[in-house]
Amino acid sequence: MSSPTPQATSLSSDPIPTRQFGDGAISLEPGLGEKDMIINFGPQHPAMHGTLRLILRLNGEKVSGSEPDMGFLHTGFEKLGEYRTYNQFIVVTDRMNYFSAMANNTGFACAVEEMLGIEIPPRAAAIRVLMCELSRISDHILGIGLQGMDMGAFTPMLWSFIEREKVYDVFELTSGGRLTTSYTRVGGLAFDLPDGVEYRVRTFLDRLDDTVRDMEGMLARNRIFMDRTVGVGVLTRDEAIDYGLTGPLARASGIDRDLRRDRPYLGYEQYDFEIPVFTDGCVYSRYQLRLAEIRESAKICRQVLDSMPAGEINALGSKATLPSKDDVYTKMESLIQHFMLSMPGHGLKTPASGEIYSATESPNGELGWFLISDGSAVPYRVRVRPPCLFAFQSIREMIQGKLVSDVVATMSSLNVIAGELDR
């Protein structure tokens, strides 16, 4: 039995279709050298954060080409949006980004409110800001912990999980759910802040400083960590702009852009905070940037707690939110409004051909929602602009010519959320 030569097997029976990207410099197929081989990194790989697949062309230890492949967690969230009312879709946004569900809840609610022209009360806005910043802290601290873990530093990861649990305790007290919070509603919030949350958040923030300092002490000037991260996975400023990167990845590459400051929503302009920007664009810069953002978010949280306005949490005048339960039990108009919002075939009054693109700064970058309404209570189209989509594409540039171990380091610095990426 004559078996084909090894490189012939790897070439001819290769199921990967021939595709060219950009200028063809990092295509997978043509010019496959004799020593090159193609391996699948993921979707079932411990170093891939989620079901992500990266097809690598390796020349020895060096990556000579790569293609990110997405769609393994495709759940049809956008299509679901065409069959769910605006408020029902909020539970879907939880599941889209399981690292920071609160930020997604808020982003979607803000988009619908912008389309309908609803002004939410200052207390609701302040609570949303608080919850967004807490989820930013938990997202970033876990991102750093996992980054350390991928580099072999296991201990900081456990500490970061402790901090995340504390944030989730706050979420659970407030919304009733730890991971799937479903806390916002169009025009306001599901519940007001309960007693004791302020104390809990303040103690959390005080202890957070210690943990961040400890994590920094373990990682920041550690030679092993620095050797693995400095100058690895570099994305220059121009490349980052070309790929449409936003959020921490863009700011680590020197793009000074943050929607919280550049296009303020929810009253972010009242709070005093810095937008940290780093210029190297390497994995270490992203680590430094996340650390700096945690500190800024903690600052915002303290300011929100200090200046928490009193009052309603729902824009009751807009007829878009359910009236309070006490009113529903006792007042006729409230009961009618409750029925008008809840009955099948009724619901939110939307413009006959409304269209909005609204974006908020989620922990991973610009989270955009493009909504089209057709006058019914159900959106005609819901489209998400997930920040991770652009981050995952750009990994091709970051790992070109680098070692396989750098792929792991780069991957963990992107903080790609598969649920949001594949939608």
Partner: protein, 183 residues
Amino acid sequence: MSAPHTPAPQDAPEGDHPPLTASEKSYLPSIVKGIGITLQRFFKPNFTVQYPEVGPYDYAAQDRAIGEVNPRHRGEHILVKDEQGREKCVACLLCMAACPALCIHIEPEPAPWDDRERRPKVFEIDMLRCIYCGYCEEACPCDAIRLTPKLYTPTTSRTERVYDKERLLENNPEAQVPQRPRK
């Protein structure tokens, strides 16, 4: 609507971090420092909860203890009974319409009582499909369905997870208080 990219800062330093010093390069001080931080942590309060022995809510007031049952916790549902032990539900189907997971099934029938017109003949919640979002509770105009802090009970078959009216009425007796608990 968003601002254009601001130009790169002119006075940006060459690189974000100073290079490693000789002592940092030699590993030894880093190891001592790392062990020091880890040892400090060793003497801090323990965060772990020994879950099956200690429930998620009844541990003594520790760092993260919620301390008492969180009234907002979204666990298994109950159907609320009124003073005479009948279900409060009037089969208005609002919860069915509000449910994003489409897991509530109600068949109304005329009520034999004077104070309402309809009551549910069949009231089923598919607990496997339910995402415990609490929208049904929010939509109910007469406080007839509540999510309670009860955690999920394991079962051995799928059909057991479809709760019918009787099961929902008896589900979590502690939560059967006539007044709606403050949330």
